[in-house]
Structure formats: C-alpha cells, structure tokens
C-alpha cells in the first residue's frame, strides 16, 4: 500500500449565547416546548422585516480577534437558497463574499508539538429548526424554536492532517469560545458542532483528491472516529481502484459507521443572492480597537502565567487552563488556601475522575472552590491526613457539605497526641514479634506492615510522621 497524506478542513458552527435570536426578539433558550419561541420573523412569514441583533456582530468580531483574523470594516449578509422544511424561509441568511472576519489562525498542540492551523473566514448566519420523526404517523414534525438562533461558522484552511489534529483544533477553539463567553459550547445540545471536509492523496502528489463532507459532528469522539473511518474508507477505495465521489456524508455514532446521504446533487446549488432587508455592517476602528483592548486573557497566555506565578508544571497549567470553568475554580480555591500545587493536584486527580464518572462539569459539582480550599487548609494545618482527606472529599462530592463539618461529624481529626499514639504503637509491636525479628534481620518491608497495622488500629487517623518516628524509636530501643 502506498503512503497516503490526509487533508482535512473543518467548518465549525458555534451558536452564539445571545439572549435573543438573530433578527427578532424571541428567546434562544434551549429545550423549550416546540414552537413557543417563535414569531412571524423567525418563521419566515411574508412581509416581515428582520433587524440584526447588535450582540451578534460583537460576539463574532470577538471570535475573529481571538483567532487572529482581519476584521472587515465593511461586510454584508446574503441569502443562500435552502429548500428544506427546517428553514421555513426557504433560504438561510448568511454571508457570502464579504464575511465579517477573514484570514486568521490558531496554534494547536498535538503530542507535545505545536502546529498552526489557518482560518479562512468567520461569518455570521442563522441556524435552522429541528425536525422530529413522528414514528406514529410516519410524518416529520417541525419545531422552529431554533430557527434563526445566531451562529458563527468558522472555516479552517485544509491544514489538518489527522484525527488527533482535528480534535486538538476543535478543543482549542472550544476553549477560546468559552473564554470569550460568546458560546456555551454544549456539544451535546448542538451549540458547538462541525462538518469535516476530508480527502486523501498519495504522499508527494500535488493535486488534492476528491473530498467528502461529513456533516454535524457534535462530540470529540464522533469527530475522531468519523475521521478515522473516512480515512480508511477513502484509502481502501483508492487502493481497490475505486473512485471517491464528492458527497455529503453522515456519521452514525452508535454504530460507528459513516454513510453517504441520499440527496440530489443539485441540493448544493445554493445560488446566493443579495439580502435586501438587511443593511451592510460597517465597523469603525474605535469599535474594533475597543473590543480588542477588552478581550479576556486567552488560554495560552493564562497557561504561561500559571507556570510563572504559581510555579506549576506545564502539564498542570495546560489542563487547568483548557477550560475557563476549571481555571476559575482553580483561581478561586487558590485565593483562599494559597497552595496552588495542592489545588491543582485535587482538580486533576480525584475530582476530575469523579466529575467524569458523573458526566458533569466542574461548575455543576456540589463541591465549591471554597469547600476544596478549606479541605486543603485542613490538610496543611495537620488537622486531617491526606489519606482521610480523600474520604472526606468523597463525602463532599456526594453531599455538598463542607470539609470541617464532615471531619467533626465523623470524628476524623488526625491523632497527633504522641502519648496516645505511642500506646497503640507499643500494642502493635507487642502483638507482632515475628515482624520485629524480620526487621532486625534486615527486612525493611516489615516496617510497612507494622505502620499499616497501626493505621488500621487508629482508623487511619494517626499522623503518619509521628507513627513512623515512634515506631522506629520503640523497635530500635
């Protein structure tokens, strides 16, 4: 088999987190009863006049600035023919030849290596409604709540070469949009999703192969797996002397397979035409400069600051800053307990594991930043051992109670009273003469066994440093 090069470009759709839709005052809230967030404008009634939401321009401009794009001083909107029941206007208002943002780039990290991915353009457009299959009647039901919810479409250059790079690009973009607070990025709700354009060519060949487009991928896993599938499919096809057709494809995440959509070829004859109801968008230098000056600290800058200010390893800083929610949690907790490495360890360790098990995000957890900070302070002060702390944290996670209350209620305060510990150490030493003999014969492992027995006697509460000290004192006597 020849060596193939994979060429991927991503079209990412991000729903903007405005209160209202793109051209009317209807709510954009997710999950409402069907067709209760609708008016004549967003349902495409004849004779209505759409007016652009100011925030849409602001949010899209911010996204452009954060991805190093040139912001158009003059842009306009166009209509794209689209004959499908989820968009009752029969055209989608989008941008054709004069998009809001042009020519940016993003730096991604894949396996420790940095790579720059070009961004062709970012334009604003409206979302379509939702189609529900009615199993009873066999008809299709149209819910127009999502019609005209504002979107930005971020189109990358064909610079992506693998599934891993595509996922890294999407993760970087997600984190930037979250930092900007312009999209809630809930992929499972479809507010961030992407189309993958993919082709393969034998390495060294200059011309691109024919590309396919896999639509509407809304999880990192789906992006990764659909790309791997499509690469394999295309290479096998070419190797077997077959032909790749330019087609739109779907990904069935449950079955793990991609398939071509049965659409007519002319469905892609978009025939853009001017949008006469909407005025051109003209942005002043001051407007753009003001947004630029007020951009929040971006993930890669924050990461460097964490490494410098908190003396954290790159690995930690990378994970803590990849999501704005995690970064906020970290900063809030550290402000209280002033122990960055401990906060970082907790977040990256047990906490993340438990969040993943529950499939919730850090801001949905019952554990607040203050709770975690208090727990860390209890360890730092020697009130509880780190072993007990793990147990306390499990309780905090389940109940949302604060660490102090749990420690008091369950009597988990660390034993640091040397007299009391000494009694128990003596008791364990007396009960295990064989271990003492082993130790004296040079078997250091015997110590570990004895410490274990002591901790068991004290239900894990004995201060381990004191236990070690006293144990050695007694058996070396």
């Amino acid at each position: 088999m020849k060596d193939y090069e994979v060429i991927i470009g991503l079209e990412v759709h991000a729903e903007l987190s405005t209160n209202t839709k793109m051209y009317c005052n209807c709510s954009t809230e997710f999950g409402a009863d069907p067709n209760t967030h609708c008016c004549p404008i967003c349902t495409g009634m004849p004779g209505v006049l759409p007016v652009l939401n100011k925030k849409v321009v602001e949010y899209a401009t911010k996204a452009g600035l954060a991805t190093n794009c040139e912001i158009s001083r003059f842009s306009k909107q166009d209509r794209k023919n689209y004959f499908y029941p989820d968009l009752p206007k029969a055209y989608q208002t989008s941008q054709y030849d004069l998009p809001l943002c042009i020519g940016g780039h993003l730096d991604i990290n894949v396996n420790g290596e940095q790579k720059r991915i070009g961004i062709t353009r970012i334009h604003i457009e409206e979302d379509a409604g939702k189609l529900i299959h009615d199993a009873y009647t066999g008809d299709t039901l149209v819910d127009m709540n999502r019609c005209a919810v504002p979107l930005i479409e971020i189109v990358s250059e064909p610079d992506i070469r693998s599934a891993d790079e595509a996922v890294a690009y999407m993760q970087t973009l997600k984190s930037i949009l979250e930092y900007l607070d312009v999209c809630d990025c809930k992929m499972q709700e479809g507010s961030l999703r992407c189309d993958v354009n993919l082709s393969v060519r034998p390495r060294g060949q200059k011309e691109f192969g024919t590309r396919t487009e896999t639509k509407n991928l809304n999880s990192f896993k789906a992006i990764h797996n659909s790309i791997e599938f499509e690469i394999k499919r295309q290479i096998e096809e070419v190797e077997n002397g077959g032909k790749i057709y330019q087609e739109t494809r779907r990904w069935d995440d449950a079955k793990g397979i991609g398939y071509a959509m049965r659409t007519k070829e002319d469905a892609h004859d978009y025939r853009y035409f001017p949008e006469p109801d909407l005025a051109p968008i003209v942005l002043s230098e001051e407007y753009i400069q003001n947004l630029k000056d007020n951009l929040p600290e971006m993930p890669h800058i924050k990461k460097e600051r964490y490494m410098k200010d908190f003396d954290l390893p790159e690995y930690d800083a990378d994970i803590l800053t990849s999501s704005i929610k995690t970064a906020k949690f970290f900063e809030e907790a550290n402000d209280i307990c002033n122990n960055p490495k401990a906060v970082s360890n907790w977040i990256m360790g047990d906490f993340t594991r438990m969040l993943n098990e529950k499939e919730i995000e850090i801001d949905e957890s019952k554990v607040t930043a203050q709770n975690l900070a208090e727990l860390i302070s209890l360890i730092d002060k020697g009130t509880i051992s780190s072993k007990i702390a793990k147990q306390v944290f499990e309780d905090m996670f389940e109940t949302g109670e604060n660490a102090k209350d749990i420690v008091e209620k369950k009597g988990l305060v660390q034993m640091s009273d040397e007299g009391a510990i000494k009694e128990i150490v003596q008791k364990v030493v007396d009960a295990n003469p064989q271990s003492i003999a082993d130790y004296k014969a040079g078997k250091d492992r015997a110590i570990g066994f004895l410490v274990g027995q002591i901790m068991k006697e004290t239900k894990g509460k004995a201060n381990p440093q004191i236990v070690n000290k006293l144990l050695l004192e007694i058996i070396n006597k």
């Binding site: 209160n19 067709n35 209760t36 321009v57 009647t137 149209v142």
Partner: protein
C-alpha cells in the same frame, strides 16, 4: 438564446416546477429576453463607481439584545395545513 433549455430545466427543477415541452420553449424565450435586457447594463461604464451592497444608502441597522414574548403557538401554527404535537407536520423527509 442567452439561456439554454437545459438551464431552464435545471432552474425549474430547483424551484420544484414541472414544465411541459411547450412551457419549456416559452420560458426559455422569455427568460432569454430578460437576461438580454439585464445584459445591456454591462454596457454602462462603471469605472470608479463603488459596488452596491444595498440599494438604500444605509448601514448598521441593529437592535438591542433584549428578549420579548414570542407569539402564542396556536397563532404561529394557524396557517399550517397540517399540525401535530405542537409542530408543523410535513411529509416524511428522508436523508
């Protein structure tokens, strides 16, 4: 003919129209005349004239992002020929 029969067929198809042979003949002639007429505009010297993005001399017509009540669902669905479960019901859409 500045527009071919095939092009008219294609446009009719995109517009979900079924044309008879006579209609195809007729519309090809009529559309050609319209295109010819529009083509005359390219004879005008537009040197130094900025492209028109909008027929009115306006820009930046925006609204504030303030939510207002939507319409009652009954009202929104009133014109729909068929409805079910609070939705417009349409013939099955196959992907």
């Amino acid at each position: 003919m500045s527009i071919s029969k095939d092009e008219v067929k294609h446009i009719a198809n995109l517009s979900k129209l079924n044309l008879t042979d006579e209609e195809l003949e007729k519309y090809t002639n009529e559309l050609s005349d319209i295109v010819d007429m529009a083509n005359e505009l390219s004879n005008i010297d537009v040197e130094g004239v900025k492209p028109t993005a909008h027929i009115l001399d306006i820009q930046n017509v925006f609204r504030e992002d303030i939510q207002q009540p939507s319409y009652d669902r009954e009202l929104i669905l009133k014109n729909a020929p068929s409805k079910d479960a609070g939705c417009v019901s349409v013939p099955k859409v196959v992907e």
